[in-house]
Symmetry: C2
Subunit: 381 residues, 2 copies
């Protein structure tokens, strides 16, 4: 049974998910898995029955055509999907089973009622968020644990067996981002969900276990400590200087230019001044706003274009580099929404995190962002 446990010393929750040991790993033997017609990929068109019932299929047609179940595998309409979102078969966090979020009655009613009980119990408890726990701590709370609530979804980015999102057309990538937007809006509307992380693991070194291009969303009933800290810092800056730290940073970076990859009408891509990882960059909206979910259709198209161009530059500059990307949107039901500024962070995995970093949380980066930006700019098309 999955659970979260609180590390009092570092003031953070850790998710225990033994079920994820069971998930398949196509990279285990071969770190450069390539498309193969012979492999039955659960994310490929025609294998929709291998995944749970989707929570979103884009583009949306009538429900008969987009709902894929075992009976409809011969339906030609199922070939029409571009992006499918399905619950992860090996979830880090079990799916919430609040009645208002039970779109598909997939849960064992017994389990569900048990969880609702747990939820009621925990609603009566003192807030167990890391900060609150400091105030209520006593000796018996050294081993705090609880059932996590939330969801874990896979965003399948193409019906075809492609490995990289950059092989998709800009219009198709925009559909992927639209799927992120819709699912974040869904989770934001759930009363017991406080945060959701949308992320991509590309390549074995970045933690990918399947080749077929996909990303993931994990929603949580708590705000991770690091996200909370960043929100607090942004709120502090707003209070002290009356402006957004990231807006100021963007303005300053654009003036200096040396760490800028590219600028478009809506976005600026920058190798951050104090980045922890070689060649990492962030795509930041010029327009201040905490929620990615509020992005306009026009900006979404622009984001797809900027993502494709910058990720392609990374793939050209460092072939075979694994990378993670993370969409950093504001926490749900946050009082600090005004000071928040969303961004898409790309983290290439070109170096190993080693003992020094784990022992201090102080990172050693061997590539300056100025050099990384210059190299990436050369590979921009």
């Amino acid at each position: 049974m999955n659970e979260t446990r609180y590390d009092w010393l570092t003031d953070r929750w850790v998710i225990f998910a033994p079920n994820r040991e069971e998930r398949p790993d196509q990279f285990k033997l071969n770190t450069r898995a390539v498309p193969s017609g012979g492999i039955e990929c659960p994310f490929c068109v025609g294998f929709e029955h291998e995944t749970p019932h989707p929570t979103l299929v884009l583009p949306e047609y009538d429900s008969d055509a987009t709902t894929n179940n075992r009976k409809s595998t011969n339906d030609p309409a199922r070939n029409l999907w571009k992006v499918r979102v399905v619950p992860n078969k090996f979830p880090a966090v079990p799916r919430t089973c609040l009645s208002d979020s039970l779109e598909h009655a997939m849960e064992d009613p017994g389990t569900c009622s048990e969880r609702v009980q747990n939820r009621k119990r925990s609603a009566g408890q003192a807030d167990l968020s890391p900060q609150a726990s400091t105030a209520t701590l006593n000796n018996s709370q050294i081993f705090q644990r609880r059932q996590p609530r939330g969801g874990h979804e896979v965003i399948i980015e193409s019906p075809h067996h492609v490995g990289s999102i950059t092989t998709l057309a800009v219009e198709h990538i925009a559909v992927v981002f639209e799927a992120y937007r819709r699912r974040l809006l869904y989770w934001r509307a759930q009363s017991d969900i406080r945060y959701a992380v949308v992320f991509k693991n590309f390549g074995a070194d970045a933690g990918a276990s399947l080749f077929h291009s996909h990303s993931q969303l994990i929603s949580l009933d708590f705000v991770p400590r690091d996200i909370e800290r960043i929100q607090e810092r942004l709120a502090l800056y707003l209070r002290q200087f009356g402006s957004c730290y990231l807006c100021e940073m963007i303005e300053e970076e654009v003036l200096r230019g040396e760490r800028v990859l590219l600028e478009t009408e809506h976005f600026v891509a920058i190798c951050p001044f104090a980045s922890r990882f070689p060649f990492s960059f962030s795509i930041l909206p010029r327009k201040h706003g905490g929620s990615f979910e509020e992005i306009s259709s026009e900006a979404l198209q622009d984001l797809a274009d900027v993502s494709k161009r910058t990720l392609s530059a990374l793939e050209a500059a460092r072939p075979f580099a694994s990378y993670n990307f993370v969409l950093q949107t504001s926490p749900f039901q946050s009082r600090q929404e005004d000071s928040s500024h969303w961004r898409l962070r790309v983290i290439p995995r070109l170096s190993k995190v080693a003992g020094f970093e784990w022992g201090s949380d102080c990172f050693i980066n061997t590539t300056t962002p100025e050099l990384a930006a210059a190299v990436l700019r050369e590979h921009l098309k």
Copy 2:
């Protein structure tokens, strides 16, 4: 030129060390490098001239015998060393060149005087430690950077080309820990040094670049943010409950037993309740104390024995696992010394840190510490 840069948003310093791009990597082509008589290993006996002048050689004989330079390569006495500590040829942090720490005049005087100038300048500045910077921040400080001061040393653990510390006799491992103790005492005595991390990267996945068994020490003129936070938490616990959090935790863990690997007179090895990594464990002294450097000779021998047994169990349970270990001692010149409790943390690298973790600092662990402890206990000799 190396420098540290401050990430205001996450309130942490990052070290930029482009020089480390130049370091050799024996694992780059072959992830399982093995001993080979044909390879000239700079850490092997007979190749002492390949490394900078040592800052410590153990056991200590008369200085003629232990000082190794090009002229003395035929001196049979050089075969007597068990552990050598040398400055890293590719330091993450350049060596301090304060007159009181200049044991060996290796620095270019020009560079050195320049650094002393920098030091004088920075001494006149407001304290740039993360916490202090919050108070002094203004818009022009978005891009804070400075020259780091400290040191980066390599602890060569054997004159012979062995890969794992577990192949050494317990008495020999005790000499390795004695080298840590002596070098930490040295760095603790430097007035401008605030912290030192002793760590080991074993195997390619843990960031090792050379096969020959070694560990490293990086000393810094600031306390990394994570270390500072842990100190604050320990101090908070002491204030609130009048006791040490780790002492309480050890007592509770020993009572429960399920996460305990082994107990000796001086130590307890535990898989922590909320560990972020599968199979990670900590070796904790039963006797409360913040500084590893104050360890008794008897406890040092015991630590060598516990380390050998637990690391051997890990190697037996998960053959070919890379791991990091980190000696977490208290910051130097700390006002919170009393509440501190040192420990040795072992972090196996069996899973990849992925996008979710980088985006939230919330970790997903697929192995419970109870299972890890049971598996490791089976492999203890």
